[in-house]
């Protein structure tokens, strides 16, 4: 498989170079799909050049004819999409008064979000204008020539790219084992400080692997893939094939750097203060302000801590303050409505914890996060179902 092949969607130049051939649909050949070692884009590009005269005369198989028809339709469609996209981009550019040539994708996104402001929460749901490649999923080029002979040696496994990947992983692992053998015989220890740092990484999840391989994978196959990857990573000389491994590792979000800490503002008496809006818990909604150089006074809806009669709710307010050792040094004002005592105290607790983040050092923020103070508790009361007394409780069984 040493041939370097580029596989890409039935590209434009196929149409350009031998348009006439296409009409009588007798000779269009697609060169074998292959996989470039450098960048693993399986499905984006195939180079086509005139096929040798010998193959032209053979009869084109029925499957190939069907495939050709689909491919040409797809290309027509993509071509028109491209044209429309270009025209749209030009209109947008001069609508925004920018120069059409230098109008990049970021400019397009900005313009769209400016022209079509949308309150939808999920960014994917908002209006967007993306290039046709992103909008329409890539499709694999032809995997077999016109006589029906597949290009990929593992074509008949049904998922050539996937099994090729497994094959390569095992190859790497064997290579590392041999290296280890040699090193052991020579008595050389694997180099410690180059050890592969995998704490912050996770093996590529199934859906991302599928988009990368342009093949759908069964669960069992995915577990095989992740097991073999684990074995590869576990081997002591894993850092030797770091490049290969890196390609199939997804960096995990570093939870602690996740939330950006707001800067405290200054109020009229010159005291630092932070307000967190929209502190939610069950059905309670609260806004909490924390002022830094304070005396430990707390006021909820105007009343002091006796707003909550039961001890448990007061203890909830005490938890974040006591945890971050700012109990007597901070003033808290909260106005809260909706929900019951435990919902309201939970909302205020979360609000206080979020406000305290900007008065405390990073290491304490991390320990607050580990204590579960900074996570929004979005558990909601489970709905009551018909035919049952409550969410889970069934009606008592009556004999008659």
């Amino acid at each position: 498989m040493s041939k370097t092949m580029a596989l890409r969607v039935f590209g434009l130049n196929l149409v350009k170079t031998n348009r006439s051939l296409l009409q009588n649909a007798c000779k269009a050949t697609a060169l074998p799909a292959g996989q470039t070692v450098a960048e693993a884009s399986y499905a984006t590009e195939v180079t086509v050049h005139a096929s040798p005269a010998a193959i032209q005369k053979q009869k084109v198989s029925k499957a190939m004819k069907a495939y050709l028809k689909r491919a040409t339709e797809h290309d027509e469609f993509m071509k028109t999409q491209h044209l429309e996209f270009q025209i749209g981009k030009r209109h947008l550019a001069n609508m925004m008064g920018a120069d059409a040539e230098t109008f990049t994708q970021e400019d397009i996104d900005e313009a769209i979000s400016y022209l079509f402001p949308s309150g939808l929460y999920d960014p994917k749901a908002r209006p967007a204008m993306k290039t046709p490649e992103e909008v329409f999923p890539a499709r694999k080029a032809a995997e077999f020539d016109e006589t029906g002979r597949p290009f990929h040696s593992m074509f008949y496994t049904g998922k050539p790219n996937f099994f090729q990947l497994l094959h390569e992983i095992v190859e790497e692992t064997n290579k590392l084992y041999e290296l280890e053998e040699r090193m052991l015989r020579r008595g050389i220890k694997p180099d410690e400080n180059q050890k592969l740092e995998i704490a912050g990484f996770q093996v590529l999840p199934k859906d991302q692997l599928e988009t990368q391989l342009v093949e759908s994978i069964a669960d069992i196959e995915y577990t095989n893939f992740s097991n073999s990857m684990d074995r590869l990573i576990a081997s002591p000389y894993a850092y030797k094939s770091k490049a290969f491994i890196e390609r199939y590792l997804k960096p995990l979000m570093d939870q602690s750097k996740q939330l950006e800490v707001p800067k405290p503002k200054i109020d009229e008496q010159g005291r630092q203060y932070i307000t967190t809006y929209e502190c939610l818990r069950k059905t309670a909604r609260a806004d909490v302000t924390v002022r830094m150089p304070g005396t430990g006074k707390i006021s909820i809806n105007g009343q002091d801590v006796s707003y909550f009669e039961d001890e448990n709710s007061r203890e909830q307010l005490l938890f974040p303050l006591n945890y971050s050792e700012l109990l007597g040094k901070v003033d808290v004002e909260a106005n809260v409505e909706g929900g019951g005592p435990s919902g309201q105290s939970g909302a205020i607790r979360w609000g206080i914890a979020m406000c305290l983040r900007s008065f405390v050092d990073q290491e304490m923020i991390e320990s607050m996060r580990l204590a579960g103070l900074l996570t929004r508790d979005y558990r909601r009361r489970e709905r009551k179902k018909f035919g049952q007394e409550g969410a889970r409780r069934k009606y008592t069984w009556k004999k008659r």
Binding site: L370, A371, T375, Y378
Partner: protein
């Protein structure tokens, strides 16, 4: 804030029952003292996993303690945890009253009178934790009482349950906290109904030790 909300929703998409439980990969919240004895390497493991929200009855303050919380949950009936908390604090009060009076009456042996109600409760539970338990196993149509070793968690549960059963077998006039306080004091000093019950269980196990090999067969 929006970022935060998105994470919660996004991480809940592929979680199971999204609105009533946290997804599986969320870690449990750690108490402050757990964090101290976790060394550096274990802590880094936590940097990359999101943590569940702390429950609304857990708090690292001076008022909350593990065994006390568990005891309160066992006392709670149809969700009235505030009442259970009141009952438990009255129990502690009665324990302390008895101990402080004993302390003041005999100021000579000051050190062995322990007026810390929580320590007494812990001691009582430790003393009344059973080692084995009898389970009935059906062999050849006959139910044999087979002695089975029990896990640590279950032994704590049994100890507390026996304490509460003894307390609930009170007559009308006596209030629960009073009766529970006497039980805890007795158990802490090693005598009383709960300790007797534990010894009975051990004796029964010992007498049935012949059936021990019937287990899991």
């Amino acid at each position: 804030m929006a970022v935060f909300y998105r994470i919660a929703i996004q991480s809940s998409i592929y979680g199971c029952r999204s609105m009533s439980m946290f997804p599986k990969h969320f870690g449990d919240p750690l108490r402050k003292k757990d964090m101290e004895d976790l060394n550096k390497s274990e802590l880094t493991k936590f940097y990359h996993i999101p943590i569940k929200a702390a429950l609304n009855n857990h708090s690292d303050t001076v008022f909350s303690d593990e065994i006390k919380l568990k005891m309160m949950n066992y006392i709670t009936k149809n969700g009235n945890k505030a009442l259970a908390r009141g009952l438990l604090s009255r129990t502690f009060e009665i324990i302390k009253r008895a101990q402080t009076e004993r302390l003041h009456l005999s100021p000579t042996d000051k050190q062995n009178v322990n007026t810390n109600a929580e320590k007494l409760l812990i001691e009582a539970v430790e003393n009344s934790r059973p080692l084995l338990q009898l389970t009935s196993i059906k062999r050849g149509g006959v139910n044999y009482q087979v002695p089975v070793p029990i896990t640590k968690k279950r032994s704590y549960f049994l100890a507390m349950k026996w304490l509460l059963d003894a307390a609930f077998e009170k007559d009308k006039k006596v209030c629960l906290p009073e009766r529970l306080a006497w039980e805890i004091l007795d158990a802490a000093h090693g005598q009383g109904r709960v300790i007797k019950k534990k010894d009975d269980v051990h004796k029964q196990c010992e007498s049935n030790r012949a059936y021990a090999h019937y287990r899991w067969s």
